[in-house]
Symmetry: C2
């Protein structure tokens, strides 16, 4: 078994085995780029070591010595030699970059004797002893587990004693003294002396890197970034080069293009007579990379040539590390550079235009979710922020304003020109006007698909939801987080992208869409097969979604239309009626309003399909809660307070989520369905007569039994056909169902018989499949995510293993009966890239998401198509 | 195609084709029992007629005339003949008896001329014209659709005019006058005369019977009794015999054994000189069958011989109809007799002992659900009752008492020796003491598995749940149903078997178990393969269930144990604690209580398995709701009112069913789990040391992710093993999970890896699969049942088509990983016969149900084993 690869033996595509750093060092070596030579111990070796009770697999040591002696030959130096010693660095390097998470040892190979020879050889005794003390400090910390503050304290004490301010002020003698002190610290801490045998040092260092794979910060990093714990890390052993050997030495970091803007211009910084760690320590300020041209023109010219070569070779923007040792340039690392979303888009488009990559590659290069930052204002990162609470990143973007606790106040203050943040335990449809008026919304309960979250995303308003530490006391006009008290009128800032609540006002950066953004989405549209629709309840939503490229409306929730003052009165009249005749009379007053709603939307959508979900919420949402309002209502309708109160109480439910709503309400009280069907079809006819094509799709929610759909679809078709016969016989409409009840998936074969389409309502389906209430999950889902019970919030990204299985059952059984059944999704998952990949694979026809997710969905659908080709 | 079968051509096992009546008439004919001859038109003919736009299939008429002419030959009479006319009856007869639901025509074949000949032939003009007017009345009503009240009014007018009181007072002339009047009514109603052609009469009558299959009352009956609408009815055409031809004629109904008690003694009643309809009309009181011996000894002797022959032949208790025409006995019908549960049990056991049937047949003969009436007191049927409201039959039995609206009042009044009925919108664990104290429980919300229903069934207390018309106003101390007001202290009676609320006190009959009851259950135990366990939370429940034959406890809910005054204080202390240390301290105070609970139960169960479900409910159930109680609590713990109120509000959930409870609570706050595990194992060790075997099974509720079970099972095993190591190393326990979240079924393969058993919690699984809240379903499930959306309440009988599919997925995936995984059910469905059949077929190891359902489950499990052999 081969455990060790010389750099010349590897290639870029051996990342699994050699890690990202090792593979790219090998690739650079083979490209002829000057890289300090060395070798890589494979990730497999790491795994074998960790699985085998932290013992080296047999044969490994031999391979290491062999590689080391090759390195000695190449460098003309000897490891541990007192005349011409070879020093090496030992660095981790996993498949996916985990910056700063694992351990590194530099200057390895020094000991009390070697350092003397090294001093002589370099002619720089101060440099040699400084290197040695750095090595002892790093090795002791990383490999031996001696706490690094002990070394720092000792060094500080010495500097104080000698009245020296900076490290540069120390002489060779001072460093020699430091070395003695350091060795004593090791002796004292471990009860044994610092290892003097270079080979032992090397083996210990390699083991330490292996072990660092499993240290907590590394595990946490992998969990956050969804990196498999079983990959293991490789170890790169490389000849040391020094950027701190004088004025012809230096070190730097550079990007082949601007990682913030994407501009095609070499970008970076350097520092002369320094090692990488000095740059990190921030003692001296590095200079822009262009400055290197003046200082060392030859090295700069070589670097320019190399960066172009590397970018062409790797066909992506590169992040380089280099060191110049006494005039000689060495590349220490190259990797695909991290970049902002704006840069990613510009680089991808320009590289395609330069002929470097294909359109598909360009489309694949952009993390779909990152587009969010381009669509919403975000916080200026260059400011200090006092984060007082964290919640769920329920709707992206940044907003600041004065805290208010009531929707009415929000509206009132906003009308007066004040910017407000609406802070509520949770929101309900009654709060819509306040949510519209607010710059941002903060709730202490509820999850990613709570009312606040869904509505805020729809409106593009930043929202932090389920911030459980925020204790809201609307009566007292304040909220508290631990000891912090925030009063009504105080200014806070919400970072909906991160889920942070910040005290005071912060600077924000406005959103701006580039031409390249449009280009990349146009390419995505050419590639994807999934249709992208939007969830839109209002003409404004529909208009925005059309601008973002939606191909139809996948979910038009009609109930939000009922909360307008004039309309809610009719709803209340209906609820308080005693006979069907009275109910019909009350509901029919809503007909002209609804008709106008639909006409407006149909006109905007210009022949694109519009799926209208019939009335869904439970009736109690429409009755007032406060006694005062109940009294007003009773007076208005000539009833007693008791009568209205009784009715309201009678409608209360223990678990409204599982209660009398959706098709259950339509079956027992069909009046609303009658009115809505009439309104939809009359609106459709009138718009069609204006010469605008209309494609209404009527969707019946909450179906769990085929009988429910059978009964209601028949009612809908009867009314619809009557309207059409009278005015518009050639207009086509369809009737389908939300698939949001697990039972519906189990009996999808029976339901498909009555449905012209299925639209998976993945929010409710997730709620029921998990048994989680989206309004209450904030109590345990964050804990679950932190402790590895959940990989992700299932309301954010579809739980493919559980909910996905239920959906698959629904599709399979439905299409068994109707092979060409149109299938879509209209839950929040319709805008989530991972979920979109699933929907693509499972043969969905379309996904529907909030307007601001439409660009993301377009890109993600294209990526899914590429990935699953 | 053969549409018509002579009685001698049929057999008892041709019920599908000939209907129950026709098949048995044929069987009797072939047995040599005197049956008036005739023929049967098949059920297939009925279906063909109904499907073919109500047209006779071709060839049917010819077959009818052929059969009719055979009948004429046999009887030596001619149909429509004016000298010696053959009269026939035309009766419906479906596969399953639908008494009184469909139509019958007697005396068919009479017309204006035939009646004269009939009068002459019988020498009884009065009888002949009475027969003719009966025929006109019946035929016009049933076949021609003339409303029967018109005939009754005309007859009454004539009697008034002639000053005659009873029908028997009318002379032949009077009846002739009636005939004329009746014919005029027909002429006036239909605009055409009464059909005089006998063959036309016969064809019309047969068609009318066919059509009567689909009249609303028949459809409703079939829906109630779950009879397939596609079976159709047969039509029996039979020579008329007359029990009203004088003092040597008569008619009667008899049972071969007593249908109330099961006693083996001929039982029935008869009436001389009468037709069956006279008995029904109740004008004369029939006499006990024994009286016939004195009146007509020969006919009685023949009847005795026949009934014994029929019972032996049909091997079941028979319900006979007979007519004696001028001394000659005819059997008109035989069928398996309906009987009470007590009679069913006694007859089955005695018939087995007589060697007539096998044990398996005996076991199959008893409707398992009917045993319920033997286990609970029931209402004396011989009394008038004022039913003021209907609800769900949530827990069987009858109870009366004074109405109270608070659990505390219930306890208080009961302690003073008063019988009370607890009336609540819904109950919660806080009400347990009041529920225990009450004779019966009435709720206005909630379904068959609501808290009230489940607890009441467990205690054997009658309960009517979800009586939505009952509007409760506890503050005013009253409830109203429409205009009826019932005040606290008023007496009501509950019929939990029927779901009725009755005003005032009713007489009840106490439950009493017979020796035969024990015998039949012993036989059931020999046959069944499913184990029957019980749901028992207390030693009392456990004791009762053991007496009913439970083989273990399948569900011991531990949370009810926490509501005791002393204990709830500890729970509240825990909830109000700020640190884990404080919480552990509070919870540990519960340890001795819990340990004693478990010791008591283990001792009673004597080595039978006891599945203990760890803490399940959400914490807010343990905090008081009323401000007064909150204040007391705050004082008790040295907190402010605000602090306690805040905590309580913070724990409130929008949908508690889908909230922070079960394993979710155990993961975030593991203290209760630690304490409970400790208590279970310490209790087990102590009981084992007393020489009593113990089999604890620890069950983790609400698992939806395998990670949840993994984490918690590990914690449980760690604590358990520690306890065992210290005191009882050879004691065995298992750790398993409730399967009640749909997701758990989808990922059962992953969950099975951590579970030693699965126990399907079908209540919650039904709630989630349907998206129904068991506390709220009363709003629409009754409507759904009435209107055919639901066949049955899914909380009562398992929804095999939907929830069953989810369960099957769970079993299949679980056993794929662990082929011998123990699988049980602990929802309320564990006591439902239809559901038990499903559990048997799907390879469950056991079902668990409330103590009072154990006998039913034992029987149902045996029947399932027989049925699915």
């Amino acid at each position: 078994m081969k455990f060790v690869y010389g750099f010349s033996e590897g290639k870029a595509d051996m990342r699994d085995l050699l890690g990202g750093k090792g593979a790219n060092l090998a690739e650079m070596t083979n490209l002829g780029v000057p890289v300090p030579p060395g070798f890589t111990v494979t990730t497999e070796t790491c795994n074998a070591y960790l699985e085998n009770k932290q013992k080296f697999p047999s044969g490994l040591e031999e391979q290491i010595w062999e590689a080391l002696s090759a390195l000695e030959k190449q460098q003309g130096k000897k490891f541990g030699d007192t005349q011409n010693p070879l020093l090496v660095s030992v660095r981790s390097g996993a498949k996916f970059s985990m910056p700063g998470m694992m351990d590194t040892v530099l200057n390895l190979g020094l000991n009390d004797e070697v350092v003397a020879g090294f001093a002589e050889k370099t002619g720089n005794s101060r440099f040699a002893y400084d290197s040695y003390r750095r090595f002892i400090q790093m090795f002791s910390d990383v490999v031996l587990g001696v706490e690094h503050h002990k070394f720092e304290e000792a060094l500080d004490a010495l500097k104080k004693e000698k009245e020296l301010e900076n490290d540069v002020d120390l002489t060779s003698e001072n460093w020699q003294e430091v070395v003695l002190m350091y060795k004593k610290i090791v002796q004292k801490s471990l009860g044994k002396s610092f290892p003097q045998e270079p080979k032992e040092q090397l083996l210990l260092a390699i083991q330490a890197v292996f072990k660092s794979w499993n240290i907590p910060r590394a595990r946490t990093y992998r969990e956050i970034h969804k990196i498999d714990h079983h990959l293991g890390t490789a170890v790169n052993v490389q000849a040391m080069v020094f950027g701190n050997m004088g004025e012809t030495s230096g070190t730097g970091v550079a990007f082949t293009r601007n990682p913030s803007t994407g501009e095609k211009k070499f970008y970076g910084e350097f520092l002369m007579n320094a090692q990488g760690e000095d740059v990190v320590a921030g003692i001296r300020t590095p200079e822009p990379i262009e400055g290197l041209k003046a200082v060392m023109p030859e090295a700069y010219a070589e670097l320019e040539e190399i960066y172009q070569k590397l970018e062409s070779h790797f066909r992506d923007m590169q992040d380089l590390e280099f060191t110049i040792e006494e005039g000689t340039l060495y590349l220490l690392q190259t990797r695909n550079g991290k970049r902002t979303a704006a840069a990613a888009v510009r680089i991808a488009v320009e590289m395609q235009e330069e002929g470097m990559i294909s359109k598909k590659e360009a489309v694949s290069r952009i993390e779909a979710n990152s587009l969010d930052t381009l669509l919403h204002p975000c916080l200026d990162p260059n400011q200090t922020k006092e984060i007082i609470a964290k919640g769920l990143p329920a709707s992206p973007g940044a907003a600041c304003g004065k805290v208010v606790f009531h929707a009415d106040t929000a509206k009132e203050w906003s009308d007066k020109g004040k910017k407000v943040i609406l802070v509520r335990k949770e929101t309900s449809p009654e709060d819509i006007h306040g949510m519209h008026a607010a710059q941002g919304i903060l709730t202490s309960c509820g999850g990613m698909t709570s009312h606040a979250a869904v509505v805020a995303r729809g409106m593009g308003t930043p929202c932090v939801a389920g911030a459980t530490d925020v204790i809201i006391n609307p009566k007292a006009g304040k909220f508290t987080v631990n000891d912090t008290v925030v009063n009504e009128g105080d200014v806070i800032t919400l970072d909906g992208t991160e889920g942070a609540v910040i005290l005071g006002e912060c600077k924000t950066i406005e959103a701006a869409l580039s031409e390249e953004f449009e280009t990349i989405l146009r390419w995505a549209d050419e590639i994807r097969t999934l249709q992208i629709r939007t969830n839109a309840d209002t003409p404004e939503d529909a208009q925005r979604a059309m601008e973002f490229g939606a191909q139809g409306i996948g979910l038009c929730r009609t109930e939000h239309m009922f909360f307008d003052e004039e309309r809610i009165r009719c709803m209340r009249e209906m609820i308080l009626s005693n006979t069907q005749a009275e109910r019909i009379k009350a509901v029919d007053k809503l007909l002209p309003f609804q008709k106008q709603d639909f006409k407006d939307i149909f006109k905007i959508m210009k022949g694109r399909p519009v799926t209208i979900r019939l009335f869904d919420p439970p009736l109690h949402e429409f009755l007032p809660e406060k006694d005062k309002d109940v009294e007003d209502l009773a007076k208005d309708f000539g009833l007693t307070f008791e009568q209205v109160k009784d009715r309201a109480e009678n409608l209360q439910e223990v678990n409204p989520m599982l209660g009398h709503r959706g098709c259950r309400l339509a079956i027992t009280y069909p009046e609303i369905l009658y009115m809505q069907t009439q309104a939809i079809l009359e609106a459709a006819c009138e718009v069609q007569k204006e010469g605008i094509e209309v494609k209404p799709e009527i969707m019946i929610p909450l179906v769990g039994k085929s009988e429910e759909l059978d009964i209601l679809a028949e009612k809908v078709r009867k009314i619809a056909n009557k309207v059409l016969q009278e005015s518009c016989p050639d207009l086509k409409y369809t009737v389908g169902t939300m698939m949001e009840i697990p039972r519906a998936c189990a009996v999808a074969n029976r339901i498909a018989g009555h449905a012209e389409f299925f639209s998976f309502g993945t929010n409710d389906l997730t709620q029921l499949t998990f048994g989680y209430s989206r309004d209450d999950v904030a109590r345990f889902v964050p804990y679950y995510k932190e402790h590895g019970v959940l990989d992700a919030d299932p309301f954010e990204t579809l739980d493919q293993r559980g909910v996905g299985e239920v959906i698959k059952m629904g599709i399979e059984r439905g299409r068994k009966v109707k092979p060409d059944l149109k299938i879509g999704v209209c839950g929040e998952h319709g805008g989530d890239p991972d979920s979109i990949d699933f929907f693509h694979r499972e043969g969905f026809n379309y996904v529907s998401c909030s307007p601001f997710r439409v660009p993301i969905a377009r890109l993600a659908a294209a990526q899914a198509a590429i990935r699953n080709r």
